[in-house]
Every structure is written in structure tokens, then in C-alpha cells.
């Protein structure tokens, strides 16, 4: 009789433990997938930026006869960013592109006729918004990494994380604290 009771208690404990293990494991999997998904969201926006740039440069060309170097820098930075290999190199190239685009935006501001053109205004809005989306996607990526890293370090989830090979993910680093703040581009259209 007594051994029967003990058996039931032990079986109950094992079941509870297993349920906890599965729950924690699945929670970690979905957190890790969120990190991966957040990373691919950044790529989506970077790709959109690459696609938009030639259109804007084309639209600006006629007006900015004296500013060809700025336009060339943007195109150059874009091509470098597109051909960059590896995370580190492409992060560097994308940052250069961000800088080049900023000076182009500032330049367009000083050509009111150009900015007033409907298609230029629209392209500027799209590109500016894409810039914002890139930094918001990075911000969300870092938030996701923080949630995931915190979770795998906390007791008792860290036991499950150790058994299931959940390793810490890296944050997306930006050069300055200022860079983290979004949005960076304001066109004041409309």
C-alpha cells in the first residue's frame, strides 16, 4: 500500500518535471526564432533601400548638375553594400550608405524645386521611411536578443538552455549612442 502511494507521487513529480521541461524548451525555441526572424526583417529593409536608391538618384540627376559627387558617392556606397560579404563587412558598408544618404537628403532640402516635384517627394518619403524601418528593425532585433539572452541565463531556464544548446546571440552594434535613436530622417512633407 505504501509503496503504491510513493510510486504515484514519484510518477506525478516526473510528469510535472517533464511538462515544465517541454514548456521551457518550446519557449526558448520561439524566442530564438523571433531573433532569427527579426534579423531577416533587417535584411528585407536593407534590400528595399538598395532597390529605391537608383530611382531617386535618377530623378535628382537633372537638377543637381553641380552635386554629381554626392550622387556618385551614394551609388558607390550602394554598390559596395550590395556586394559586401559577411556580417561585419556588410554592416560597415551599410553604415557608409546611411551616411551618404544623409548628405543626399540634406542636399535635396536646399533644392526646393526638386523637392516639390511629386515623384521626388514620394521617393524621398519612401527612402526616408525605409531608413526609419531599418533602424526600427535593428532596435527590435536587439530587443529580441535581449529577451532571449536574459531568458537563457535565468535560473532555472538556463538548465534547459544548456541541455538544448541554446547559446547567446549577438547584439547589433552601432557606433554611437545617437545612432540608436530613431527616427533619424525628418522630411516634414505634408
Amino acid at each position: 500500500m505504501e509503496s503504491w502511494v510513493i510510486l504515484v507521487i514519484v510518477a506525478g513529480l516526473v510528469i510535472v518535471l517533464l511538462l515544465w521541461f517541454f514548456g521551457t524548451y518550446n519557449g526558448l525555441v520561439s524566442l530564438r526564432n523571433q531573433v532569427k526572424n527579426a534579423w531577416s526583417q533587417i535584411d528585407v529593409q536593407l534590400k528595399r533601400r538598395h532597390d529605391l536608391i537608383p530611382n531617386l538618384v535618377e530623378a535628382c540627376k537633372g537638377y543637381m548638375k553641380f552635386e554629381q559627387s554626392t550622387l556618385e558617392k551614394v551609388i558607390q556606397a550602394r554598390n559596395m553594400a550590395m556586394s559586401a560579404q559577411g556580417v561585419e563587412q556588410s554592416a560597415k558598408a551599410e553604415n557608409m550608405l546611411t551616411g551618404a544618404l544623409k548628405s543626399l537628403f540634406a542636399l535635396v532640402e536646399s533644392y526646393p524645386d526638386l523637392k516639390a516635384q511629386q515623384n521626388v517627394g514620394q521617393l524621398m518619403e519612401e527612402l526616408a521611411s525605409t531608413e526609419n524601418k531599418i533602424s526600427f528593425a535593428r532596435q527590435f532585433y536587439n530587443d529580441s536578443v535581449m529577451r532571449y539572452n536574459t531568458r537563457i541565463q535565468q535560473i532555472p531556464a538556463n538548465i534547459v538552455a544548456g541541455m538544448g544548446n541554446f547559446t547567446a546571440e549577438e547584439f547589433f552594434e552601432v557606433e554611437s549612442a545617437e545612432e540608436r535613436i530613431a527616427p533619424k530622417v525628418d522630411l516634414n512633407i505634408g
Partner: protein
């Protein structure tokens, strides 16, 4: 001025509104039990209370979210109709890691906005034409971030659930009190040879029903105010730019006109109370917190974040 991070703000508001919701649930269950006890069947009372709330919640969860949009006369737009608004919503959905909500515009000169939807993938954000005309891009972003936070925090679902429970409490109390009055006037006291215990239960149920009638709606409005503060704080988490939302709230309060078309039942959906944006908020029966408090909290958070470059130039 003390600084306060949005993390602390969010945690505090979340705790408090959960507590309030728990309290409302408790009142509903206790009221069902006591009224049941007064008529001699505690479990039947509880059953009626839970059933009443459950049916309404099921109906509203399936149909409720589109009602607010209908009520406001909102029209759905696509990217080409208003690229800037659409982009701002997209930016905030990326920042929040949420699916892109549907975007609606309300043709009204009044400045206001609301979010609706029982789950993030069926949600919508609606803004008025007046809002688009009077806010700059940063301020619009702050307002949209506030609405996106309502979506992320499942506020529509929470508020509808609380409203239904409170509605059930009010209905039950009302029915019970009326029933008692009618029975009382019919001279039921004549046959009063029943025990003292039953009389005590009856009196307790009466007092409880009366109290519930007064307190439950108060709790509902308290939850609504907490969720507004929570959405303000979560908006800062998304934009990292509290001053823009503070500026937007100032405009929505001091330079605004009422949006009279908004139905009374939907007032708590909006970012500022559409009926009286100017004197809005603060009392026990207000849907929104006082605007000064919201702005003060945002300014406290603002100390942590430097202004974005572009804004400094102006």
C-alpha cells in the same frame, strides 16, 4: 525631475491593471454567489453570472472590433492613398514586431486616433484627417506608436472583457435590487418567520449589490486609464522619443475640437476622449488620465533620451 524608464512604467501599469481586472472578476463571482445565497442557491447565482458574462464576451470577441470602425465612419486606405501615414504605421509595426494592421482614415477635422482588433493579426489603426493635417511626422509617429502599443498589449480584448464583466455586474445587481423592491412592496414581510441567518444573508447581498453597482464601473474606468498610461510608456519603447508624443498630446488637448460622431461606448478606444478633449480626464469616472499627468510622465522619460539630430536643427 526624477527619470523613469519605460520598462518601469510598463511593469507598474501592467501589474496595476491586472490587479484591477482580477478585482472585477472577483466581484462578479462573489456577487453571483451572494445573490444566489440570498435566494437559497449560491451555485445557480454563480452560474447565471458567469454565463451572462461568457455569452457576451463570445459575441463581442467575434464581432466587436469592427463596430468601433463602423461607429466612427472610418474608410480603409492603402499605401498609395497616403504613403506617409501608411509608412509610419509600417515603421511602428516593425518596431513592435507585430503584423501590419489595416489602416483607416476618419474624415473629421478633430484630431484623434484609435486602435481596435481582438488579436494582433486582425487589428486596425484609425486616425482622423485633422490629425494628419496638424501633426508633424514625429508627432504622428508617437500617436501611431501609442495605438500600436494598444494592439501589442491586447488592450481591446482586455477592455472589452472588463466592460462585459462590469456590465454583467451592473445588470445582476440591478435585477436583484429591483426584484427585492418588488417583493418587498408585495408585503413579503408578513410571512417573516424565517431564521435570522437568512435575513442577514439577504441584507449582505443587498449591500453588496449596491456597492458593486457603484464600484464596478469605477474599476472599469481605472483599468481604462491604466491602459492609456501603459500605451504611452510602450510607445516610448517603440519610438525612443517621448517628447514627440508629449507634443502631440498637447496639440490633441489644447488645440483640438470634439469629435462628436464618436459613440459613447467607444470613447475609451481613442487616444484622447473624443467628447471633451480639452477638460479630459482625471475623475473616478473618466476614461482617460488627466493630460497633465500623461505629459509629465512622458517628460520624465524624455530625460533619458536625447533629441534626434534633425529635430535639434530647428
Amino acid at each position: 525631475m526624477p527619470t523613469r524608464s519605460f520598462h518601469e512604467e510598463i511593469a507598474a501599469n501592467r501589474r496595476f491593471s491586472l490587479m484591477l481586472t482580477g478585482l472585477v472578476t472577483f466581484i462578479l463571482v462573489a456577487l453571483g454567489l451572494t445573490i444566489g445565497a440570498a435566494i437559497g442557491q449560491p451555485l445557480i447565482g454563480l452560474g447565471i453570472a458567469v454565463f451572462l458574462a461568457f455569452i457576451q464576451i463570445m459575441v463581442l470577441w467575434t464581432a466587436g472590433s469592427s463596430l468601433a470602425l463602423l461607429d466612427a465612419g472610418a474608410t480603409r486606405i492603402e499605401h498609395s492613398d497616403n504613403p506617409m501615414l501608411f509608412n509610419v504605421v509600417e515603421e511602428m509595426s516593425i518596431a513592435a514586431g507585430q503584423p501590419m494592421p489595416k489602416v483607416y482614415v476618419i474624415e473629421s477635422d478633430s484630431m484623434n486616433a484609435f486602435a481596435t482588433g481582438m488579436s494582433p493579426d486582425k487589428s486596425a489603426i484609425a486616425v482622423t484627417r485633422g490629425l494628419l493635417n496638424h501633426l508633424n511626422r514625429y508627432e504622428l509617429q508617437g500617436v501611431v506608436a501609442h495605438e500600436m502599443s494598444h494592439i501589442r498589449n491586447s488592450d481591446t480584448r482586455m477592455m472589452i472583457t472588463v466592460a462585459v464583466m462590469v456590465g454583467s455586474i451592473v445588470m445582476l445587481s440591478d435585477l436583484f435590487l429591483r426584484g427585492f423592491l418588488r417583493a418587498g412592496f408585495r408585503g413579503r414581510g408578513g410571512g417573516g418567520k424565517k431564521g435570522g441567518a437568512e435575513a442577514i444573508i439577504l441584507i449582505a447581498a443587498l449591500v453588496f449589490a449596491l456597492l458593486a453597482l457603484i464600484i464596478a464601473p469605477m474599476l472599469q474606468f481605472a483599468v481604462s486609464r491604466k491602459r492609456e498610461l501603459l500605451a504611452d510608456a510602450s510607445a516610448v519603447e517603440l519610438t525612443r522619443y517621448p517628447s514627440a508624443l508629449a507634443n502631440a498630446l498637447k496639440k490633441l488637448t489644447y488645440e483640438n475640437t470634439p469629435f462628436k460622431e464618436a459613440g459613447k461606448a467607444f470613447q475609451h478606444f481613442y487616444i484622447v476622449n473624443p467628447a471633451r478633449p480639452v477638460s479630459g480626464g482625471g475623475g473616478l469616472y473618466s476614461t482617460h488620465p488627466p493630460i497633465e499627468e500623461r505629459i509629465r510622465r512622458l517628460q520624465e522619460m524624455a530625460l533619458e533620451y536625447p533629441e534626434p539630430e534633425q529635430e535639434k536643427r530647428k
